[in-house]
């Protein structure tokens, strides 16, 4: 056996392996940091788009195919546009070139004469109804809906304009006196139509047309009911709400609102004189999406929003907020199909984009230095079509989250239909007209409330228990007690939540006086027991050392607790006339929910106690013994030593324990989800529930649409939680590290 020459250094191969291991392990270690940063930046990445403004990018320009345009529109794909002319024509044209067709921007695709004679008036419905109406001489009205057909060829969609069916039946006689109509407004709700019009001789009237099926012939007949409005002189603008409930008339700065009942009866509701010194001359008027708000454009470039607010004399329109859209008179206000975003055009051609509820000025200026005269938005709000003289400009519009602003999330917002500005979280509803209300204040408040009640319960018990276990308890008992309390930290919170919701909440409801009795009686009985024990004979007293007091007290506390519950009906009978809930509601005016903050406080308190206990106990226990021994040697009592020496020294550790506990309470999800009613209310009442950030995410995240404002705001809620807990944990950890350094130097 030839002995190999022992090599003293490591071989190259081994060194390379060593080097590789070093790099690999270092990379693995840094991965932890990367993971945390990834979470942080990914959350930010999702949130960021909600704070972006509007981007308007010029795509192309071309000659307008029609003259004397009164209205424009686009279909959903933004491939075809259409224009109505003052001569009663409807012209479809291509908005862009498309492969597989011979289209080029501005190419006329179809031209239809809608009316035989030159029309006397024109109107359009709210954008989502997409109907247009021409009044022809003689007081009749023709209604048109631009229609499109689409077909798929090789998986690609081709949209084409559809021929408008010109049917004599659709000529509706709106004015029963057969006079020419000069001003017209029209809306329909699927079966009925409501017209408001002014005739050539100045009569202002409302015509409510209801479709009635004739029982004998089966034919549908229009039954119309006409009422005249008490208005003299020429009006500037007429509006009809899409629910056919209201007609609005504007005559300079005078603004009338009339109610229309389902039977067609008209009644004046309100007359507003828009104060021209305060707001300026009214130059235009428009209904916002959802048709609950009226927007006025003013001569000084202001836009004012008005909606109905419930007051002493019923619901009345009132001024809500204003926007500075330009420095010259507003000529046109264009509203979006579904959102509360609106676009303004001023006399000098300036364009403005605003969102009413969030009070956000999203854009102001001349896009690409063009001067706008008309503009229109497609149904998906992705494309903006602008007319400037004989030129049409197409813009790409990116305006994903106009409803969210930082101030809207954290400040009071005056929502449509609300009596005053308020903090509201209401993300979804059944109706289309609904406006989502994203205020993070109520759910942040809920988080703080839940954490506060939990800490109220957990901090005294957790800290006292920690101090006792670390300072007084005999080591043999401590060895058992510490892991027992800490095992509670491992308990799944879903079980605590389930017990809180299904066991504790009904128990609290049934034995409310008992719960309060426990809080009062347990400390009293402990002190009483301590007093008694101090006068006991020496033989027994020597057994009741401080070291084992905790175990001695277990049966006592359990008994007092049981006794309190037994006394509960008696207390209820004596103090609260036998029904404490009714007493609370009737006598004190306090709302009582079964799943309330008290339940959450107790349940979450128990979840937090082990965290606080564990860290605080470590802090107190690791206070160097020579400090306390020195104090005791100088004649201080154990209690004095504890409060004056030990606790002071350990106070940073205790602070860090409380911070850690708070961090846990803030982020806890399942307990609050299960033990509260999850209503986003803002009230400190201990007998009412709350909705927290975390529970809100758990409830709403699965049903929010990916990429929507709602989705991103839920990410924002998660980010807020992340930042909260990051701050608590980092401060707690830094304090703890400093404390450790301090002890090690002692």
């Amino acid at each position: 056996m030839a002995a190999a020459k022992p090599s003293l250094g490591a071989s190259n191969y081994r060194l390379i392996k060593d080097r590789a291991a070093r790099w690999g392990v270092s990379l693995g270690g840094v991965m932890v940091l990367v993971a945390l940063l990834l979470i942080f930046f990914y959350l930010l990445y999702v949130i960021e788009p909600i704070f972006r403004g509007v981007e308007i990018n010029h795509q192309r320009s071309f000659q307008t195919p029609a003259e004397n345009v009164v209205a424009m529109g686009m279909e959903e794909q933004s491939e075809i546009g259409y224009q109505f002319t003052a001569d009663g024509e409807l012209v479809y044209f291509a908005l862009r070139a498309k492969k597989g067709t011979e289209w080029e921007p501005g190419k006329e695709l179809m031209r239809t004469a809608v009316t035989a004679q030159k029309p006397t008036a024109f109107t359009k419905t709210q954008p989502q109804n997409n109907r247009y109406a021409f009044a022809v001489p003689g007081g009749a009205v023709r209604i048109i809906e631009p229609k499109f057909s689409s077909r798929f060829i090789d998986g690609e969609m081709f949209v084409e304009p559809r021929e408008v069916e010109l049917d004599a039946r659709e000529l509706l006689q709106v004015d029963p006196q057969d006079q020419d109509i000069v001003k017209l407004a029209y809306e329909y709700d699927g079966e009925s139509k409501l017209f408001a019009a002014q005739s050539a001789e100045g009569r202002v009237f409302v015509n409510f047309m209801q479709a009635k099926r004739n029982f004998l012939s089966g034919a549908v007949e229009m039954e119309s009911k006409v009422s005249e409005l008490p208005i003299n002189g020429g009006v500037d603008q007429l509006l009809v709400t899409p629910d056919l409930r209201q007609v609005m008339v504007r005559q300079n700065n005078r603004f009338w609102v009339f109610d229309v009942t389902r039977t067609g009866t008209v009644k004046e509701r309100q007359l507003i004189n828009v104060d021209s010194r305060r707001f300026g001359e009214v130059t235009s008027m428009s209904l916002l999406a959802g048709a609950s708000s009226v927007l006025f454009g003013h001569a000084n470039g202001k836009i004012t929003q008005w909606f109905e607010v419930a007051g002493d004399d019923g619901r009345r329109y009132q001024f809500i907020r204003d926007f500075q859209a330009a420095e010259s008179a507003i000529t046109e206000i264009v509203v979006e199909y579904y959102r509360r975003t609106f676009y303004t055009i001023a006399e000098n051609g300036e364009v403005g984009v605003f969102h009413t509820t969030s009070e956000a000025e999203l854009y102001r200026g001349h896009p690409d230095a063009f001067k706008a005269q008309n503009l229109v938005i497609d149904p998906r709000a992705n494309t903006l079509l602008m007319r400037e003289g004989q030129q049409l400009h197409v813009f790409e519009l990116s305006n994903e989250h106009p409803e969210v602003t930082w101030s809207g999330l954290w400040q009071e917002v005056w929502y449509e239909g609300y009596p005053e500005p308020d903090y509201v979280w209401q993300s979804t509803s059944g109706s289309d007209d609904f406006e989502p209300k994203f205020s993070l204040v109520p759910i942040s408040f809920g988080t703080i409330k839940a954490a506060a009640y939990a800490m109220l319960f957990a901090v005294p018990i957790g800290l006292a228990a920690a101090v006792y276990t670390a300072y007084f308890m005999s080591p043999s008992v401590r060895k058992v007690v510490k892991p027992t309390v800490e095992i509670m930290e491992a308990l799944p919170t879903v079980i605590l939540g389930f017990l809180a919701g299904l066991w504790l909440a009904p128990l609290v409801e049934a034995y409310l006086p008992g719960i309060i009795a426990v809080i009062v009686l347990v400390p009293l009985s402990i002190i009483l027991f301590a007093m008694l024990s101090s006068v006991l004979p020496q033989v027994i007293r020597s057994r009741l050392t401080d070291g084992s007091a905790a175990l001695v007290l277990v049966p006592l506390v359990a008994f007092v607790g049981w006794l309190s519950f037994q006394l509960s009906p008696v207390i209820e009978n004596v103090l609260f006339d036998g029904n404490v809930r009714q007493y609370l509601t009737n006598e004190l005016g306090i709302t009582f929910d079964q799943r309330n903050s008290l339940v959450v406080g107790i349940a979450m308190g128990f979840a937090v106690i082990p965290t606080i206990f564990s860290i605080a106990e470590d802090a107190v226990f690791s206070v160097p013994k020579h400090l306390s021994n020195g104090s005791l040697a100088l004649g201080a009592t154990t209690w004095q030593t504890l409060t004056k020496v030990v606790l002071l020294t350990a106070s940073p550790g205790i602070f860090s324990a409380v911070m850690m506990g708070l961090g846990r309470a803030v982020g806890e999800t399942m307990i609050v989800l299960m033990a509260t009613g999850n209503t986003p209310i803002m009230d400190w009442n201990i007998f009412e529930g709350m909705r927290t950030l975390s529970a809100n995410i758990a409830v709403e995240m699965p049903e929010s649409e990916v990429g929507s404002s709602h989705y991103r705001i839920l990410f924002l809620a998660a980010f807020v939680l992340f930042v909260f807990t990051f701050a608590f944990n980092t401060v707690a950890e830094l304090v703890r590290q400093r404390l450790r350094d301090k002890y090690s130097s002692m």
Binding site: V32, L499, P569, T725
Partner: protein, 551 residues
């Protein structure tokens, strides 16, 4: 007295009291869950009682006493209940489970104790467990086969038990057939559809390929028809028998046998039989599928899902956690980056779990999963494969969540290994990597184990993030089955913790489901406390071992 207060004695006692309160809370909680969870399996007596209503009429109720509570008389009076000659402050009221869901409006009823005129537990009362409509309580009258009686008064119990056994067996065969063989055919058909789509997308769908796929599909359909006939034959056999019962209204009703699962006569059991029944019920609970929107039956899929997800998570979290701990303890210098990493570890441990869920949903499911679908599963689009919550994403999300647990525990283990061992190894010429691999890691392996156990315990109890990244109320298919590739990491799964939340708070009949929730909680708590105690045990053992090494 003043002096006594100044001595601080009362405050010491008060701090002692808070320890007692904590102890009572922990132990009381465990006892409560244990008691409620286990008593669910114990055969309850079936009571037959006559109850006098407010108007003096007397009705008979048959059922199990489910719950009792004491309420003040005052509150009853306000809700209009008249109790004459009853003069105490409070009285007991019993919640009776009367079952027979299809014949009574509510299968639970409250009975006031003073209104009970007669209360007996006749030995003949039977409890029928059924796969639909819950339990049935009543007297067995007759057993029918094809509409004809096959039992006389004497042997009716034996005949019933035997017939139920037969039906259960047939139902099992049918379920087996449906799940394994028919399920496999459906799975293969779907695979063929995707294959055709994939070929189509690549432009390689030739006539030959088309013919091959069509032939394979036809073959599967033919097989399916044979199996379907078998299935129908089994179902016919199962619906042969019926049982006639007399319920609490005194009416005789005929119930189809194919819905029966078991029959018990709990009032006629002795202690040994009851203990046997107790364990049989526990066995059924952990091995059976849930029924009736999770409010009855077992929790097997939830156990399976939890275990599978946790194993998957362990595979991911262990290497990362151990490497990070080794870096922090063995390689990292005392510099700013190390401090940052330590703060990152603490923060990863402290970030609310729901934030991980949000991150997992956005980053893993939609971003990573969506990209995976684009690249690897274009044939299945637009229905997502990995771009939707599933067991893999749940495991990865929880791996990040439990990473700090493994790191902290492993690092503690590493710090307990005396440095003399390292120095010895290095002095003998080993490189640092070799020292780590041969000496340090084997010695730290119990600590790594401890960390892993704690991580598993944490993951098993976590619910909030899972609700977003993959857990569902009811998963039709387990993530592991007999179809290639056997592990389906894209599937959704059931989880014990979520099961508790779902059954306790989102089920249509919370009252009926409550004992089941307690039983599930008990199971979960047992597992988690068990894991934690094991971890503590391992850790203590380790400490003792290295303490002896140091001296």
């Amino acid at each position: 007295m003043k002096q006594w207060f100044n001595s601080g004695k009362p405050w010491i006692w008060l701090t002692a009291g808070s320890v007692s309160i904590s102890l009572i809370a922990v132990i009381g909680l465990l006892i409560l869950i244990g008691w409620r969870g286990l008593s669910f399996f114990w055969p309850a007596q079936i009571h037959e009682m006559d109850v006098r209503a407010n108007d003096g009429s007397i009705s008979t109720i048959i059922g199990e006493v489910y719950d009792t509570e004491t309420i003040p008389l005052e509150r009853l009076k306000e809700s209009g209940v008249q109790l004459d000659d009853f003069n105490e402050v409070a009285l007991d009221r019993w919640l009776i489970k009367i079952g027979n869901r299809e014949y009574v409006p509510l299968d639970f009823t409250w009975v006031l104790e003073p209104q009970i005129v007669r209360d007996e537990t006749p030995a003949d009362l039977a409890k029928l467990e059924r796969s639909k409509d819950g339990n049935f309580y009543g007297y067995v009258v007759d057993v029918l086969e094809n509409g004809k009686s096959v039992a006389n008064g004497e042997n009716v119990r034996a005949v019933l038990e035997q017939r139920i056994e037969r039906v259960v067996e047939i139902n099992e065969q049918a379920a087996d057939l449906q799940d394994s063989e028919i399920g496999a055919i459906n799975y293969q058909l779907n695979q063929l559809r995707l294959e055709r789509r994939a070929l189509d997308l690549e432009g390689q769908l030739t006539e030959a390929e088309k013919a091959r796929i069509s032939a394979a599909e036809q073959q599967l359909r033919d097989d399916y028809e044979v199996l379907e006939e078998e299935l129908f034959a089994l179902r016919d056999q199962a619906s042969r028998d019926e049982v006639v019962m007399r319920d609490m209204r005194g009416v005789e009703v005929t119930l189809p046998m194919y819905r029966m699962l078991a029959v018990y006569f709990p009032n006629d059991m002795n202690l040994v039989e009851k203990i046997g029944h107790f364990f049989v019920q526990i066995g059924k609970f952990v091995s059976e599928d849930p029924r009736e929107a999770n409010t009855e039956g077992g929790v097997f899929p939830a156990i399976f899902g939890t275990v599978f997800m946790v194993l998957l998570m362990s595979v991911i979290v262990t290497p990362f956690g151990v490497i990070a701990a080794i870096y922090l303890h063995e390689y990292a210098g005392k510099n700013a980056i190390t401090r940052l990493i330590r703060i990152a570890v603490i923060n990863l441990a402290g970030v609310p779990s729901i934030v991980y869920g949000v991150f997992g949903l956005g980053f893993f499911v939609y971003m990573v999963g969506g990209s995976l679908d684009q690249v690897f599963y274009p044939e299945a689009l637009p229905s997502p494969t990995f771009g939707t919550p599933g067991v893999m994403w749940a495991a990865i999300t929880l791996a990040i969540l439990t990473l700090p647990v493994v790191i902290v525990s492993t690092e503690e283990g590493l710090s307990r290994i005396p440095s003399t061992l390292r120095e010895g190894s290095l002095a003998l010429g080993a490189t640092k990597a070799e020292t780590l691999w041969r000496i340090i890691i084997p010695m730290a392996s119990p600590a790594i184990m401890t960390g892993l156990i704690l991580a598993v315990a944490r993951a098993a109890g976590e619910v909030a993030p899972l609700m977003l990244v993959g857990v569902v109320k009811s998963a039709p298919m387990l993530p592991v089955d007999g179809n290639f590739p056997y592990f389906h990491l894209d599937r959704k799964f059931m989880h014990l913790g979520f099961h508790i939340y779902d059954v306790g708070f989102q089920s249509p009949n919370v009252e009926a489901a409550r004992p089941l929730v307690y039983a599930t909680s008990f199971l979960l708590v047992t597992v988690i406390i068990g894991l934690n105690l094991t971890a503590i045990g391992v850790r203590n053992h380790l400490r003792e071992k290295y303490r002896s090494l140091e001296h």
